[in-house]
């Protein structure tokens, strides 16, 4: 009876090898089925980017042709902005000009026309027409340089005393913040109002209008009644008169950013500040000192890429409260205008050249040059941005690249390719393409989805995964090995039995 009760374990249904193997296999099958899921949930999306197209583009040079029709020569020459060549082309042109002065010929409509006149004293620009004076059949030696600096000032190395380093970075939108600061209005001679709207429309608006293809401006203005300086100006006495002076060092720290609120932070556009500062009575008259601590005539200065400041000393007999009128502000705003031109990068006219269009602050030469210059800059920086995206994605292996990034990169690249392929006679069009390329490239770079996953050393990964998987894996693997060996033993025994 006892033999009947104690059965051989291998004859129990749930201890049969095939059941055990099925259980084991189901675990393994489940794991294999889970693998793709695990793979797809843990891997990051890294779409391929058009790297070869970008590489191809980076070898190319952007050319924006300039047509110049010389109003005396048979042929009209086309200049390419490749600098070494430009100069020689210009001089060749001018040689031709001197040698074969003939009748005026029809120029392409968008060409710059250079003509020689005998009745002008200095070079004059009217729209796209430059007249160069000529004496006794000779033109001045420096004419090639003059034309160069008119058309391609950004290619020549920046001589000291120019203002290229003041220029703000390109952005499609800017905010202009005009601020009237009273040093201390409570002490008297307080300016409580100014005709800012009229002044802006007279001095600033014409520039904004002319550069509207390039920039979009928003204007804000404010008056503050208490704006203390963060330092004590130097006191100079000149006989009977006492004046206060700002040294060069003072100018750098003039803006008391801790206490003055100069612009609202409503948008992310770059802000250009224009500050009219009325010194308090205790600090007036306030003058700028030169390096030898002598007061200068100047009453204005520029902080690079930030904005401009104009000081205005009130007359001693000024009433305690008053309103600044046009007459007093004209001078101030003409200063702001010059500062604005410097800050947004409008090239200066070469020395001794005058404009015949007195109604417009910028000549066509200057505007076109500005467009070309910004187009070059934008093309360069969008190319750099695209290259750095490629490089970073390559370098940082856990940086995701999503669909929107790829689309932006592609579109930016196509805009660049259009820019590089075309021959853009109209600089404004070239600018549009370059600006679009830059905006898209930057948007791709700054895409929030591009944030790389955090880095963890391999040891950390083992430390996290081992306690999770080791307890599950050990019985599975051991059972598997046992089953395999049992199976092999069974085969061997069966063979032995058949051999017997």
């Amino acid at each position: 009876m006892s033999d009947d009760k104690l059965r051989d374990p291998s004859t129990l249904t749930f201890e049969q090898p095939c059941i055990r193997r099925r259980i084991l296999t189901s675990y393994l099958v489940l794991m294999f089925l889970g693998l793709p899921l695990w793979w797809s949930t843990t891997s990051i999306q890294r779409l391929s980017l058009p790297g070869t197209r970008i590489d191809f583009l980076s070898g190319k040079e952007l050319r924006l042709p300039i047509s110049i029709a010389v109003d005396a020569v048979q042929s009209s020459g086309v200049l390419c902005i490749s600098f070494s060549r430009c100069q020689s082309v210009v001089s060749c042109l001018l040689n031709a000009l001197q040698n074969e002065r003939r009748s005026r010929q029809s120029a392409p409509p968008d060409a710059y026309i250079i003509s020689l006149t005998e009745n002008a004293q200095i070079p004059t620009i009217q729209n796209k027409h430059l007249s160069i004076p000529m004496q006794q059949g000779q033109i001045a030696n420096r004419t090639p340089e003059l034309i160069m600096s008119l058309l391609t000032p950004y290619e020549t190395p920046s001589p000291p005393g120019t203002f290229r380093h003041l220029v703000v970075k390109y952005a499609p939108r800017y905010r202009l913040a005009f601020t009237l600061l009273n040093g201390d209005a409570t002490a008297g001679r307080a300016v409580i109002g100014w005709d800012v709207v009229k002044m802006i429309s007279r001095w600033i608006a014409p520039i904004l209008e002319q550069t509207s293809e390039l920039y979009n401006f928003t204007i804000e203005s404010q008056i503050q009644f208490y704006a203390p300086l963060a330092f004590e100006p130097q006191v100079l006495s000149n006989g009977e008169e006492v004046i206060h002076g700002l040294t060069q060092e003072n100018l750098k720290v003039f803006i008391n950013s801790a206490e003055w609120t100069l612009a609202s932070s409503v948008s992310n556009d770059p802000v250009l500040h224009f500050v009219l500062f009325i010194p308090s009575i205790s600090h007036s008259p306030l003058h700028i000192l030169d390096s030898t601590q002598q007061p200068t005539f100047s009453n204005a200065f520029v902080l690079p890429q930030w904005g401009g400041i104009v000081l205005l000393n009130m007359p001693i007999d000024a009433p305690p409260k008053f309103h600044l009128t046009e007459a007093e502000l004209d001078q101030v705003f003409s200063g702001f205008q010059v500062q604005l031109l410097r800050l947004i990068g409008v090239p200066e006219l070469p020395l001794g050249v005058q404009s015949a269009n007195s109604d417009r602050p910028l000549t066509d030469f200057q505007l076109d040059t500005l467009y070309r210059q910004r187009a070059f800059e934008n093309a360069g920086s969008s190319k750099e941005t695209l290259q750095s995206i490629i490089k970073l994605v390559d370098q940082i292996s856990n940086m995701p690249v999503g669909q929107d990034v790829r689309d932006d990169v592609r579109e930016s690249l196509s805009a660049l390719e259009v820019l590089y392929a075309g021959v853009w006679k109209a600089p404004a069009l070239a600018l549009q393409h370059s600006s679009r390329a830059l905006t898209l490239a930057s948007r791709a770079f700054f895409n929030p989805g591009m944030l790389a996953l955090l880095y963890f050393p391999a040891e950390h990964k083992y430390a996290v995964y081992t306690p999770l998987f080791a307890p599950v894996a050990v019985p599975l693997v051991v059972t598997l090995l046992k089953e395999v060996s049992a199976w092999r033993r069974a085969i061997r025994e069966r063979k032995g039995r058949t051999a017997l």
Partner: protein, 402 residues
């Protein structure tokens, strides 16, 4: 299962391999941290900084009352950079901000950094940009790389360009190559190095001063590989940073030692000071600070003695005077403006110089990040594990069969 003694020795061997790989990393860290290299590769001409604007990113990565001192560290730096002329709009302050109004604060609304309560750091006009639970590793990296949501307000963005000098200050609890953020996550030295590289690639800075006060702080800048970064930290690897003093009324430590001495030195600096970074570093006293501060300047290309403290802590570097009094009407006259000190900075202009650096980068990059090495290491350790398991199973089987 009984383990054979040989299995043990195998395990020990395996662990030793892992340790060697790890310590090779840390050796490199130590080399950077301890060694104060003052060598520079910049041309021997004007070393004035080419920046036009200054930014500061101040991060206090701790929260809770007992980390009062970290809040005080960050606020102390905030007060200093603001005093030296960086406007609030250019300061990004990341602060848990749970000290001033903590119910355990005996001085509500105040944060003090010294025993005598001489100076209330919280005081007035504190603009905390990332507060409380917004202080995360992700937000910090998004801030640096500029990869923020379009809806992010201006005050939470780092709107820098290639003319910006950025001062990055971090404080909190850290360790070998990591800094803990609010007890929930950590940032590694690799992440910051990669973020700086991305900033460099997008031209988001001219120069960076990276300063960190935490335990084993110098390991945090050991992985940097982007140019124009000057880094300094409070303590070497395997070394703690300590607090400076306790206040019995507040009941906790009020400031960390390293930050205390740095702030103490900066108190003597004003906006027009000509003191250099070298002067600051020379003031580091390991005995007083009770740890060994480190400086890493091999990525920085100006001599430290000509790098002004105000290049990083100050406001504006240049101003251009219009020489003639602005007069009526004529806008095209080019002679209206003149620049008495318009030196063209060779560092800025000579961009070829910077490109050389970019090309040299692969050499600087850490070999441990090489994908091939990582893969080899992973497979190597996997096969060691496999061999171990096989060994144990086979061994037990042999024992049984014998």
């Amino acid at each position: 299962m009984r383990l054979h003694p040989f299995t043990f020795s195998f395990l020990v061997f395996f662990l030793r391999i892992v340790f060697i790989v790890k310590s090779a990393d840390t050796d490199r860290a130590e080399k950077f941290a301890v060694h104060r290299s003052l060598s520079h590769h910049a041309p021997a001409v004007a070393f004035e900084s080419a920046h036009t604007n200054n930014w500061a990113v101040l991060v206090c990565a701790s929260r809770y009352w007992f980390n009062y001192r970290h809040m005080a560290n960050a606020l102390g730096m905030y007060r200093t950079v603001k005093r030296l002329g960086i406007p609030d709009s250019n300061i990004i302050l990341m602060l848990a901000d749970d000290a001033a109004c903590n119910s355990r604060n005996h001085f509500p609304g105040c944060v003090f950094a010294n025993r005598g309560h001489a100076l209330d750091l919280y005081g007035e006009s504190i603009e905390v940009d990332y507060r409380g639970y917004e202080v995360t590793v992700e937000n910090f990296l998004r801030l640096l790389t500029g990869r923020v949501e379009p809806s992010m307000p201006r005050s939470k963005r780092l709107l820098t360009d290639d003319r910006s000098n950025i001062f990055v200050y971090m404080t909190g609890h850290g360790g070998d190559e990591f800094l803990k953020f609010q007890d929930s996550e950590e940032i590694s030295a690799f992440d910051i190095a990669d973020a700086f590289e991305q900033m460099w690639q997008k031209k988001r800075y001219n120069e960076i001063l990276f300063m960190i006060d935490t335990c084993q702080a110098n390991t945090m800048f050991s992985k940097f590989y982007s140019p124009n970064i000057l880094a300094t930290g409070s303590s070497q690897i395997h070394e703690n940073s300590y607090s400076y003093e306790n206040d019995d009324d507040v009941g906790v430590s009020v400031i960390d030692s390293y930050t205390h001495f740095v702030l103490d030195y900066l108190e003597g600096i004003n906006k027009t000071s000509t003191a250099s970074m070298e002067d600051l570093f020379a003031k580091y006293d390991p005995v007083a600070i009770r740890s060994h501060p480190g400086v890493r300047s091999d990525l920085f290309h100006r001599p430290l003695e000509q790098t002004l403290i105000t290049d990083f802590f100050g406001g504006v570097a240049h101003a251009e005077v219009m020489t003639a009094r602005v007069t009526e009407g004529h806008t095209n006259a080019p002679s209206l403006l003149d620049s008495p000190f318009a030196e063209i900075d060779p560092i800025n202009e000579g961009s070829g110089h910077e490109y050389e650096l970019v090309e040299a980068l692969p050499a600087l990059a850490d070999w441990t990040r090489d994908p091939l090495t990582i893969t080899l290491r992973a497979w190597g350790s996997l096969s060691v594990m496999g061999a171990l398991v096989a060994w144990v199973t086979l061994k037990s089987r042999w024992q049984r069969s014998s």
